[in-house]
Homo-oligomer: 244 residues x 2
């Protein structure tokens, strides 16, 4: 029989908030991987020695915080990881068929992290990070240029082997090779002139107007696991927002 | 005593969906204006001659559809209208203090609606619409140029009087003068080169890179009430999106 996992609220913390923190810790520790079902509410309540109502409020809080989701008639699941396909929603390329773009790694090297990269990734100044330059292609036409910074040693597995074997999506690769699940991301959209190197890769003139998407991707614990700058032709940029 | 408002579901429609449609019709007809409270669930259930559980499911459906919102401990309210201040979230101007921009109407004229405008606004080809050209200013500096199309005769009240008296926000004006409540909007973002006329108004060179936001605004019944094209310096464009 499982030992009781009694939860002690901190001063000023409600019982269900303390319980939610305990469940979050179990999720972050990988006890229930992204996309899997949680045990039944009754089982969880018994494990933690709380009333069913208290467990339900804790699960509601985790739902609001985006850690879990209720699926009608099927139970409660840990939110699945992001697939990594979502950056394409900012651009329209090719025939508009929504075809998934191909990926080509242009370069991969461990480098001392520049100050802003180190700060964002939670590294000390000059600690090593893995830098990838990557081209995305639709119908064999280059369409996006990406500079990607990943913290070392966490992503050391990607410093080895042939990137040609990586496939077209990075986030499933992060999960398989490095055990990193991307839980949420924040994209900042701006506009700039295309620098010379990405311009060559995209077969566009230098200084061509381009849209720039700066992404920070986070794991379940809230640590930033990826810093990515994506550049693409401003004329291909298109995004729709609903306001209610 | 109020007569019973019995609801007859259509073939294949559930009882609560039919009830939700009946309540939506009462909201659209203006019985409960945007921002006001609905009667208690029990009262509504009695009025429509249904069980409380059925009424609750209907109200849940209207909440999901964005027509009403629950406020914890305070009841159920018709969603307030949009204030019209939201376009500014796409740009950073001035000192970043978030100061509300001033509005200056550059021109106002009834015109035969061009084909695409007529289609979007639900007008016949060549039927009249009101076209506004409007400048938004932050700290007395022009920052956004807007072309706004509104259907006539609905907005006839805005064809008269001095636009200098309109104030800085249009949506409260639409409500006060024309009885039009903007319930939701869809913004489509792209980049383009600045045409000559808006360039002059914004004191920027023609062909300067600019961000273009095309807005369609809808009332509660789902009719498009406004078609707006906003242009601003691409270098001032900034927008952040969270992905979960």
């Amino acid at each position: 029989m499982e030992p009781l996992r009694l939860v002690q609220p901190e001063v000023g913390q409600s019982r269900y908030a303390a319980l939610a923190a305990a469940l979050r810790a179990r999720i972050v520790a990988g006890e229930w991987p992204p996309g899997t079902a949680l045990p039944a509410e009754q089982t969880l309540a018994a494990e933690h020695g709380v009333a069913l109502g208290t467990m339900r409020r804790a699960l509601e809080l985790l739902t609001e915080q985006g850690f879990i989701e209720r699926r009608h008639g099927r139970g409660t699941f840990v939110k699945p990881s992001l697939s990594g396909a979502s950056l394409l929603r900012f651009f329209r390329f090719g025939d508009g068929s929504g075809q998934a773009p191909a990926s080509r790694i242009l370069s991969r090297e461990p480098l001392p992290a520049p100050a802003d990269v180190a700060r964002t990734l939670g590294l000390g100044p000059g600690e090593p990070a893995l830098r990838l330059l990557r081209l995305r292609l639709v119908a064999h036409q280059p369409c996006l240029h990406e500079e990607i910074w990943l913290p070392l040693p966490l992503f050391a597995a990607l410093a080895e082997g042939d990137p040609a074997d990586w496939g077209d999506l990075l986030y499933p690769l992060f999960a398989q090779r490095c055990g990193v699940h991307v839980h949420r991301a924040v994209d900042s959209i701006g506009f700039c002139r295309l620098p010379a190197e990405p311009a060559r890769a995209l077969a566009l003139p230098a200084d061509h107007p381009c849209a720039r998407v700066q992404r920070q991707a986070f794991d379940l614990s809230g640590r930033c696991m990826e810093l990515r700058t994506t550049l693409g032709d401003a004329n291909a940029f298109h995004y729709t927002v609903a306001i209610t």
